[in-house]
């Protein structure tokens, strides 16, 4: 699986793609505006086109109205830090911003494992009203502890997320968080989490409103399933999402025998390596009112892989 297309909506807002000569607010201000450079930009001797695009956006007073901003492809040789600096510097121009996507980059533009993230923590003080935060790419990513008291949705898509990032999210105080999705990825692409890293997700004590928990795309998906099968947090979740990873019958059995399974409304296991017989058992959970997504079975028995790595 890879990203072929850019986001078309974000946090419920229609996405506006625009060129320098266009008016990004032709369709109004209740939109998610993109700032991305395009193919062929950023040759030698050319000014950074992400900055050019951002500066052009700032010429419009309507930035003060927009709820959502999407950071697309930035200079492929640079980390995101200069983008973060620019956003922080211009924070007063985005007083209503509540949704931010850092890295809406397709695999054509840059493979997920090549995206150079960086320290995003300056954003927390600059945009304290953020409710939706999506990040694509785990390389170099540093969140410190996230401090966003209004954050409802946090989503990090990565082919390999460092354990320190995962641990910092587990330790973050996120009183309003309802949905958390982490693509943990594969060891060969930088995933370093073990079950010990996930300890805080067992009860998600600092996330009292959590309803959707995704620990996805992992090459230790069975161990995660076994661990989460007894996690007290399941008693208050609607959805447990363990999709996209190397889940086999072992992990599926742990979930099937979970003491808390019946509290869930949905179990998302799509892209898995379970046998037909195990899938049939999982599908029987529908009779107990639990929706189980067992789509995209992977047939390979000897060579398993996560959905998103490189």
């Amino acid at each position: 699986m890879s990203y072929v297309n850019h986001a078309r909506t974000f946090a419920g807002y229609p996405v506006v793609e625009w060129e320098l000569e266009d008016d990004p607010f032709a369709a109004g201000v209740n939109v998610a505006v993109t700032v991305r450079n395009d193919w062929g930009d950023d040759g030698e001797g050319v000014e950074d086109t992400w900055i050019t695009k951002f500066n052009t956006l700032l010429e419009y007073k309507q930035t003060e109205q927009i709820p959502a901003l999407i950071v697309g492809m930035w200079h492929y040789e640079k980390t995101v830090s200069y983008v973060v600096e620019a956003l922080v510097e211009q924070r007063a121009r985005f007083p209503k911003l509540k949704a931010l996507f850092v890295g809406d980059i397709t695999s054509d533009e840059n493979e997920i494992s090549w995206i150079q993230q960086g320290d995003l923590s300056p954003l927390w003080d600059a945009f304290p009203n953020l409710e939706y935060l999506t990040i694509r790419g785990g390389n170099g990513l540093d969140l410190e502890p996230i401090k966003l008291p209004k954050l409802k949705s946090l989503r990090i898509e990565s082919g390999g997320l460092g354990a320190e990032v995962v641990r910092s999210i587990g330790e973050a105080d996120l009183p309003e968080l309802e949905s958390l999705v982490l693509w943990l990825g594969a060891e060969r692409y930088g995933a370093t989490s073990t079950i010990a890293t996930l300890e805080r997700f067992y009860d998600c004590a600092e996330m009292p409103k959590l309803k959707y928990l995704g620990l996805c795309d992992s090459d230790i998906q069975d161990a995660i399933a076994e661990f989460m099968a007894t996690a007290p947090v399941l008693q208050r979740l609607d959805v447990l999402d363990l999709s996209l990873g190397m889940l086999t019958d072992e992990g599926a059995l742990a979930l099937l025998t979970s003491p808390y399974l019946r509290h869930l409304k949905k179990l998302d296991l799509h892209h898995h390596f379970c046998s037909d017989a195990m899938v049939a058992k999982l599908d029987e959970l529908a009779q107990s009112g639990i929706e189980v997504d067992t789509s995209e079975p992977q047939t390979e028995r000897d060579w398993r892989f996560v959905a998103v790595g490189e």
């Binding site: 300890e199 067992y202 009860d203 076994e226 099968a229 007894t230 007290p232 019958d249 072992e250 059995l253 742990a254 099937l256 025998t257 979970s258 003491p259 046998s275 037909d276 017989a277 195990m278 058992k281």
Partner: protein, 362 residues
């Protein structure tokens, strides 16, 4: 019931301090490697996780303990578990357990690998995955066993199945169960079955269905029932057919030469035997000399693999006659061997043929 932090519980338990009332721990109590610990306070009622790995002097646990994950690996002095134990997973590899209590409830997994003292399991045991590999003291499985996965590999004394039982999904590893002579009739439909090295197992129940994989290398089987025909038949993990597995004498050298899959070709060669193979194959003679048994020949067969990245090494064998029995032997040697003398030295364990100067061969 009182709730105690894992840290506090740990300190009190290690110091041997008493608890005034029943307590629970919201968290993981890790006492692994505490070799001086002999018992856990009977006041402990619940914990998310209890890790007692390597507590080699532990002899008892509290009655009625409820714990999600219980780790008793290497608790060699622990001979039995308490009554009323409820867990999601129980690990007790290399422990001293001789059995499990009748009322034990472990929903997901019980791992009793290499519990050499284990002699019995309770009737009507229900669990997702039962791992008893290397439990060499176990001769009999209980009545009413209910499971998804069973790993009983290398249970070398296992002979008898329970009178009834039930399996869901069904992944059974019985490899190395050298005394097993039958599978029970109640084992009707399963996904995977590993019977490698079940030398005394000569047939399977006629009603048995295996849907995914059946491994039969070095078993006593000579055929599989019709319900297994759709499963992948494997020999040491290599996909084979019934002829390779059960009628290797019908294979021809040409078929082996023509087999494109190198792994399968090796299994076919092994099944047919080098003697039969060299009788038929157009072998090239690399060397010839005379030893006390008669003429020795170094023979080579090369395979014509098209894909140069997946080319198998040639088969090189020494053909000898035993001086005392006059029997003819074909012995495989490394493909780098160039002379009979060198090959004979290699077989005797010498890398340098100059050092191999037998005084007398018998």
């Amino acid at each position: 019931m009182q709730t105690v932090t894992a840290d506090e519980a740990r300190q009190r338990l290690l110091a041997g301090l008493p608890f005034d009332e029943d307590f629970q721990i919201a968290g993981e109590l890790d006492l692994s490697g505490e070799t001086s610990l002999t018992a856990i306070s009977p006041r402990l009622q619940q914990a998310w996780s209890l890790n007692l790995e390597g507590c080699t002097h532990l002899t008892s646990l509290p009655d009625g303990l409820h714990v999600h994950r219980l780790n008793l690996n290497g608790c060699t002095a622990l001979k039995q578990l308490p009554a009323g134990l409820v867990a999601h997973s129980l690990q007790a590899k290399n422990s001293g357990l001789m059995g499990l209590p009748d009322d034990v409830q472990v929903a997901y997994k019980i791992d009793l690998s290499d519990c050499k003292a284990l002699v019995s399991l309770p009737n009507n045991l229900h669990t997702g995955s039962l791992i008893i590999k290397g439990c060499t003291g176990l001769e009999r499985l209980p009545d009413g066993l209910h499971f998804y996965f069973l790993d009983a590999s290398n249970c070398t004394h296992l002979k008898t199945w329970g009178a009834d039982g039930h399996v869901e999904v069904g992944n059974l590893n019985l490899s190395g169960c050298t005394r097993l002579t039958y599978l029970p009739d109640w084992l009707d439909k399963i996904a995977q079955l590993n019977l490698r090295g079940c030398t005394e197992l000569q047939q399977l129940p006629a009603n048995l269905t295996v849907v995914s994989v059946i491994e039969v290398a070095e078993s006593g089987l000579t055929a599989i029932p019709p319900g297994c025909a759709d499963a992948e038949l494997r020999w040491r993990d290599v996909l084979v057919d019934e002829r390779i597995a059960f009628h290797p004498e019908t294979l021809t050298a040409q078929e082996i030469m023509d087999e494109a899959n190198i792994e399968r070709r090796r299994v076919m060669l092994d099944r047919l035997g080098y003697e039969a193979f060299f009788k038929e194959a157009q072998a090239k003679e690399l060397d010839r000399d005379v030893d006390p048994g008669g003429i020795r020949r170094l023979l080579q067969v090369e395979f014509q693999d098209k894909d140069r990245w997946r080319r198998d090494e040639p088969v090189v064998c020494l053909s000898v006659i035993c001086p005392s029995t006059a029997r003819h032997y074909i012995i495989r040697v490394p493909p780098t061997m160039q002379t009979c003398r060198q090959a004979a030295a290699w077989i005797a364990g010498f890398d340098n043929p100059e050092q191999y100067n037998p005084v007398q061969e018998t």
